[in-house]
Symmetry: D2
Subunit: 272 residues, 4 copies
């Protein structure tokens, strides 16, 4: 398959997102930083994080309302209760937010609050959900299934696009391999492939991709140097007390340092 | 395993290599570019490549004398015949060379010609070879087995170090996963892990790591931004006619452009 | 992890299924054969297959009403239209049926027609679906996600069991590995692990597990010899014209021969 | 690839092995049981095991002289010292032995003692070793690399056959996948593929394949039911004190029970 990959120019599809009163264009040459907590836990946690990442250059917030968890005994997200917090904090920071939807019946409820719907890795093959998202007009961040071929990923994007209303941004978040020294294996090869050979904008999630906060900034820089269209990173005021994914969340100082380096890298590789 | 990865400072081991009349220090903060053809095919091919990569900033040459090939019917490398070419061209370019040894009985013959022995991915678990390399004093570039745990890789390095004479540089070259859109999956997560949590210098081989020349430069830039100690890339005057690994070899112009970008990246991330 | 696996006796949970006017006990020492087409395509195809597999010893039918497909352009199953066929043919053959549900909103509609709900491999992590299935009382056949750890699989079963109403049977159907010579890699190791170390009944699907009809009978025999609680196999009157999964469907004669051999194997290993 | 796998009859190559004063034909319809310890540790351990497995129907012994170990600090096998024990015990039991050779320089020394050379999983791509084995005339048991494609495995067999003297028997011993609940994932799909689509005899090693003694017998029975040409299992008088691979070794009683079941299975599937 790989022997006949040639450099035919492909015109990229630019996805427009409304984030607060800004208009973001993903895929058009600028680099987008999405940041925030894994889950929205309470007002203080979400507000402080949102304000900090905004001040340091994030252009879109992230924050989970409903969380897919391996065990039904783990924290499942605040659910609908979080929506008022979403409204308050996005207004306060003049930011939009991307948040995950897991159930086709939740799309309508979540719609007014988000700038971008997220389909999580575990739902990339949930075709009922994809078909329902095809019926609405907000863009969708489609995370790669943790063991999905690039080809399947693109076909899942086509499920969403079939309605002709919703645009898709792809998000690489690590695949499952034999190696266990990190939580997943971030597949930057596929990011390079998508960048050169498809028309989709591609974002990298180094937080899930490597799963260890110490290593997240290095992978974020790698993604920027490689020419990805952006990154999405998890930030928490106190990762040790996070209700989900604490080991991979950056502290505020780690995020601030990362942003300084990212800005210098993207200057070089020609992203603004 | 990954939950308790913390940022204890580890003092890195610097490996000294004599390359022509230069002394290279790998792992001490400078970024090393190793370049050259997959196999040494003939004088013109090797000489032109060696001179070109030297002129464009490569600090060490690469070139296969004996080649491990899946089929016994494929080109197996020139073998001993190539050694005179190695001598001539390394002298001409004032460069050292890294070349692969596959058989413990070949170490002695290859010794006078190389600055750095390479153990290939398929021989990372060839303990007879590792033990024999432990008996000599030149440094060894130990490629990761294409399905080897980081832990096994380090234990293979310890086989070589047990003699107390030879130092080891690790080289990530891609692992085998379910994904087939690229030849291998370059595991930059493990590179970041090794950088932060072990004392070994770590080099990245994006040529084998992604296996598609169009995508090689992006992955090389990613490796530099991530803070690897160097890269090793395959370059060929005419990749389409290469006797081995043509699809992943850079042309001369591709290499030249890559070097310009690499130099700007390593300035930022603090490698010289 | 594997070093401390010891042979503590675990009392198995027996799952009762009503199939026509029979009561099947899965997990209690008898071996259950589930057979039928991948998708229900039309009356002739479904009726002929159902009658043939019944005559040859199948104790439960299978047949897809809604089909998860990688591309939205592929045949998606007949949908609700198939339900009347399900009613007619299960009555005619005095058999129950297992059929896949992909959308939590379809559970209610499918409920009267099936003896056993199936959660497919691509929905093993679809927690909205699992939670909804926890609200009803029919047993659920939970297929393993194609890249899911045994531990995650069991935790998904616990999502279904949390309501205290629905019982779970696990079904191994192959995992995704680097090997491409077969469609998936049937993981009989995990089947043996589940048999010895958990209380869940475990069924094997060699059709998806190997994906090549020529090889399906061998893997079915292997599953029986290993002590699985049953198999689920795809059978089609004319596999070459099947609308889904034709390459892995057994013909009628192949199924008949398989059943003869299976019956002799299960005598030996102590399943009835 | 899998869609055009059809059932063209392939005439199998029968490999003849001299085991004591018996002539074994592997691949001709009879089922061969190879058994013994992982490593030869001392006379008592090897003698007692060899006698026990012989009495219970093993037709060929196994026992490691040189052992490939991940760490240079682990027990590396007795080495040449074990050869006198090999001679004594094979004579005493009237059995041949299969033992691993890791270094091309050891072939000559091992030659007089073995009926069958073994190439271990970690050396399947050690082409220097394969080429040297092609120069001698005893058959070779070629274990699959733990992450090798079936295609690569067969090409490694062709390296050995290129001399026209040595025949090859393939041995599946598990592949490396994401799953960690067992040591490896035994790939019986590939065994079925090799049986139907190549001319090589194929043996299964459930000891390494699953890595947990409790689960070994189930996988051995599965291999027999599937139609493999034999199995190779590790047996130890006291697995807890084994110097290598204790967790996967069968005790004497476990082996005895397994042999009773195996004999009944192979009657059914038509192997003698």
């Amino acid at each position: 398959m790989f022997s006949n990959i040639t450099d035919t120019k492909i015109s990229k599809k630019i996805v427009e997102i409304v984030s607060g009163n800004k208009n973001l264009s993903i895929g058009g040459g600028s680099f987008c930083v999405i940041a925030g907590p894994c889950s929205i836990e309470n007002e203080l946690q979400f507000s402080s994080t949102a304000n900090f990442v905004t001040k340091n250059g994030a252009q879109l917030l992230r924050g989970g309302v409903w969380k897919p968890r391996t065990s039904h005994k783990s924290f499942q997200g605040l659910g609908s209760v979080a929506l008022e917090l979403v409204k308050k904090i996005t207004t306060e920071t003049n930011q939009g937010i991307v948040s995950e939807v897991m159930d086709p019946r939740d799309i309508e409820e979540l719609y007014p609050y988000v700038s971008l719907f997220q389909v999580g890795s575990r739902n990339m093959h949930n075709y009922s959900l994809l078909k329902e998202l095809a019926q609405q007009d907000k863009p969708v961040l489609l995370k790669r299934g943790f063991a999905s071929f690039v080809d399947e990923w693109i076909k899942s994007a086509e499920y969403i696009e079939q309605g002709g209303k919703a645009s898709v941004i792809l998000c690489e978040r690590g695949i499952r391999t034999f190696e266990t020294v990190t939580r997943n294996t971030l597949d930057l090869n596929s990011v390079a492939f998508i960048k050169h050979k498809t028309h989709y904008p591609i974002i990298v999630d180094p937080s899930h991709g490597v799963g260890v906060s110490l290593l997240v900034p290095d992978l974020a820089l790698a993604a920027a140097a490689l020419g990805a269209d952006g990154i999405m990173v998890e930030v928490h005021p106190n990762p040790k007390e996070a209700l989900s994914d604490g080991p991979q969340a950056l502290t505020f100082p780690q995020f601030e340092i990362l942003m300084t380096k990212i800005n210098r890298i993207i200057e070089i590789v020609g992203q603004k």
